[in-house]
């Protein structure tokens, strides 16, 4: 009894916490959303729409496919031109299972969606590592292959008249167009809501980070390949659902309704409305439908084949949007609205300044015999390095001496030809994510912040690393654990920002100065909770006052038990912060010790420092 009561109490506490959170996050936009959804649901019962219902339901399904495409294009920046094919795969799988195999509606539907998911996974795997231009071309070819496959094999596609489906019934109930409309609106609302919920949270932020700076995102432990494959598959699955349901609605699967021109239309809808806003694709599709109506009227007057003018007008509309800056209609409208209304300041509790805790299990990092050649150029030649907790180790040397190559080998950005890197007795030889999880994280030489995210969101990309309940499904369902994880991540991120001295978490990263952007990279790295921190030229571009602050920060991090490696050209700064120095020349370690010891070394003076006095 008491156990049951405990569970009951716990559930009640969680529920009231959820209600509290929901009320805190409730705004007039939420109310508006709910009202719009309710209005769309009751519209067929109130308005005289019965004769238009099939068209409306078909539009809603197409909008669902467009929203699915926004997952790939907007969230992850994958320019997929294959959505028409995925829509068609869903549709024809459903049609073939229903007509040829004689399956009932529901099992066919599940199988059709599973088939589309399978093709989506294969396509995602096949294009995952390509540059985006190649992704666009290969998905475009996929759209054509699908169309040619159907037109070349009338045996599969039913030829010119298509495949005619038996009437759709679910549990003895015959589905009407209105039923389809209600199902479509509900699915569309869920897809839009999921996009809205996921985009600004950990899974969405990781994708946005990889979209803008793939290498930097991977360096902070974002599982880039897996996340992109997941979002591409989700995009295909949504198209499969829309395709299978459309074919049940119109009762016929017709090859000419899928393929390249549908892919084009959906892609245009997403760009036209705004790929980064959840409702963008729906707005874009509405505009295109207005175009097609206008085009049909004009074309009818001139006696043109249907569809011809539609594509032309769609093309011109898209060019207009791209010419006006390319963000899409909805973002433009939002920008205009925001410029008219004063910004609402959201008070944010300031975290205690020293949130970044001491390193719990400080461990030295030992690199032995690191070697890397690029062709005949030996970039690293048997380099040993030891980074000790609570000490700052500076890596110096002339340009091209292998400093950055060494850092890349330590963080896993490149695989050395020989040599080992160990922390805590375990050898690190995986990609960056595995090393970040072990507590080894580096920052990039060039400023590589995520320009379209705010400072806080940048830091959250790092803070999302160790969260266990931050998958896309938990995030969307807002489970208690996901919400607790989110609060923890936000505390970590704010703490890291506070520590590096960035006090406006809501500023877009693109508005920060070059030095502030370097600090932001440092904050994102700190938010991953590292034991070993590797910084590539953190002082570059800083003023004297900024360097004072940076030196203080490095001392503070050292005091917390971090092992630090700093690659630096500014020797005055090195003298202030470094406990130990290693000098590289032509990929070889030519000296190490304190700066004074190194400075008096003949080889060092010969190689590099002769030109600049050290101490």
């Amino acid at each position: 009894m008491s156990a049951a009561a405990g569970v009951f109490d716990e559930t009640r506490a969680e529920l009231s916490a959820a209600v509290r959170d929901a009320r805190a996050a409730w705004g007039w936009t939420t109310t508006l959303w709910l009202l719009a959804f309710a209005a769309a649901l009751v519209a067929p019962a109130v308005l005289p729409l019965t004769s238009r219902m099939p068209d409306l339901a078909e539009f809603v399904y197409l909008a669902l496919a467009a929203t699915g495409l926004a997952y790939a294009v907007g969230l992850a920046g994958i320019p997929s031109l294959g959505q028409g094919a995925f829509l068609g795969i869903g549709a024809f799988s459903e049609a073939l299972l229903r007509t040829r195999a004689g399956w009932p509606l529901l099992p066919s539907f599940v199988a059709a969606v599973a088939i589309t998911a399978g093709v989506g996974v294969l396509t995602g795997l096949a294009t995952g590592r390509l540059r985006s231009a190649f992704v666009a071309v290969s998905t475009w070819i996929l759209s054509w292959i699908f169309l040619l496959l159907l037109t070349s094999f009338p045996g599969i596609s039913g030829g010119a008249q298509g495949l005619v489906l038996p009437p759709a019934t679910v549990l003895g109930h015959a589905l009407t167009p209105t039923d389809h409309y209600v199902v479509g609106i509900t699915l569309l609302a869920v897809a839009v809501l999921a996009l809205a919920v996921i985009a600004p949270r950990s899974p969405g932020l990781g994708l946005a980070a990889a979209r803008d700076q793939r290498q930097a995102a991977s360096g902070l432990g974002v599982p880039v390949a897996r996340a992109r494959l997941g979002v591409f598959t989700a995009s295909a699955v949504i198209a499969g659902v829309a395709g299978a349901l459309t074919v049940e609605l119109v009762q016929v699967a017709d090859a000419s309704s899928y393929g390249p021109s549908v892919s084009f239309k959906l892609f245009v809808a997403v760009i036209l409305g705004g790929a980064r806003l959840p409702l963008g694709p729906v707005v874009g599709l509405l505009v295109i439908s207005a175009f097609s109506n206008a085009a049909a009227q004009i074309g009818g007057l001139r006696g043109l084949p249907p569809g011809r003018l539609e594509e032309m007008l769609t093309g011109y509309g898209m060019l207009l949007i791209l010419g006006l800056g390319g963000a899409g209609l909805l973002p433009a409208a939002r920008g205009w609205w925001r410029s008219r209304t004063p910004p609402r300041h959201v008070p944010r509790p300031t975290p205690p300044a020293r949130e970044v805790p001491h390193v719990e299990a400080p461990e030295p990092l030992r690199a032995r015999g690191l070697t890397k050649s690029f062709g005949s150029l030996v970039a690293l030649d048997h380099v040993d390095l030891e980074l000790v907790p609570g000490r700052v180790h500076a890596l110096i040397g002339p340009n091209g001496s292998g400093k950055t190559t060494a850092l890349k080998a330590l963080v896993g950005d490149l695989v050395p030809d020989a040599g080992t890197v160990r922390v805590d007795g375990t050898e690190l030889n995986g990609p960056p994510r595995a090393r970040v999880l072990q507590g080894v994280v580096g920052t990039q030489q060039a400023t590589a912040v995520f320009p379209e995210l705010t400072a806080l969101q940048n830091a959250l990309v790092g803070a999302g690393l160790r969260l266990e309940h931050e998958g896309p499904f938990r995030t969307f369902l807002r489970t208690p654990k996901a919400r607790a994880d989110e609060r923890l991540a936000e505390r970590k991120a704010l703490g890291a920002l506070q520590l590096v001295g960035l006090h406006d978490p809501d500023r877009p990263a693109s508005e920060l100065t070059a030095h502030e952007q370097r600090l932001l990279m440092l904050a994102s790295a700190l938010a991953t909770g590292p034991r070993v921190l590797l910084l590539d030229e953190p002082a570059a571009g800083g003023s004297a006052a900024e360097l004072d602050r940076l030196a203080e920060l490095l001392h503070e991090l050292r005091g917390r038990g971090l092992a630090l490696l700093v690659i630096e050209h500014n020797l005055r700064f090195v003298r202030r912060v470094a406990d130990e120095v290693t000098v590289l020349e032509a990929g070889r370690r030519i000296a190490s010790g304190t700066l004074a010891q190194v400075a008096s070394d003949d080889a060092v003076q010969m190689a590099y420092l002769g030109r600049q006095k050290l101490a």
Binding site: G77, S132, I141, A217, G219, V224, F267, T314, Y316
Partner: protein
């Protein structure tokens, strides 16, 4: 700035232009298909423009088309490798930011490249048009095959793309017509298989490639 973001923009604009132009052509040329007369009267050569080589009947036109294509590929290759503007275009292709940084007029050169591509496509269309009835959609499929050929050689040199294009065409013709021991695939596979091979090549390269994030 963001590489993928700008690619999305490029993809969107080129497709938009393509569809806008195609729609415009369709609005002006309203017949289902057009037959173009041959400006070079190849039908006077051989037997009604057909010669027999090793038992095979070949249109004389095809030699002209192949020759013209080879000449254009050579010209494009020479332009890219040997002229200042061509090398500047290659620089832009490998790193647009760096090209801009060293003072190349990137926008002008990209516009020039599009102009050249358009001109080459127009010549190809004029050369190919008399072979068969031309429809508004002929261009899309022809362009797609060109894209496939260029993709197979990774948008490398024009010569390689020319060779790949010939290969795609040969494969298509062979699949359409060849029957070995009573077994032949038939014309319905002719357009599909080259596309399928292209997708296979892309997938193979993608899976073999180092993850983008790990290349220096």
């Amino acid at each position: 700035m963001s590489s993928s973001g700008s690619t999305v923009g490029w993809v969107a604009s080129t497709l938009a232009i393509a569809f806008a132009l195609r729609g415009m052509i369709g609005a002006v040329f309203t017949r289902p298909a057009y037959v173009f007369p041959d400006p070079f009267h190849f039908d006077n050569v051989g037997r009604n423009g057909v010669v027999t080589i090793a038992g095979a009947s070949v249109q004389v036109r095809s030699f002209f088309v192949i020759g013209l294509a080879a000449a254009l590929a050579a010209l494009a290759g020479w332009t890219l490798e040997r002229t200042r503007r061509g090398r500047a275009l290659q620089a832009i292709s490998s790193d647009p930011e760096a090209a801009r940084f060293v003072g190349l007029p990137v926008e002008t050169l990209v516009a020039l490249a599009f102009g050249l591509v358009g001109g080459l496509a127009a010549l190809a269309a004029v050369a190919a048009a008399p072979s068969a009835p031309f429809t508004v959609d002929s261009g899309a499929l022809l362009g797609l095959k060109g894209l496939v050929a260029a993709l197979i050689v990774r948008f490398g040199s024009p010569w390689a793309a020319f060779a790949a294009g010939l290969g795609v065409g040969l494969a298509e013709a062979a699949i359409d017509n060849l029957r070995i021991g009573g077994f032949g695939l038939g014309p319905q596979y002719g357009e599909l298989i080259p596309l399928g091979i292209a997708v296979g090549v892309i997938a193979y390269r993608s899976l073999r490639a180092e993850p983008v994030a790990r290349t220096a």
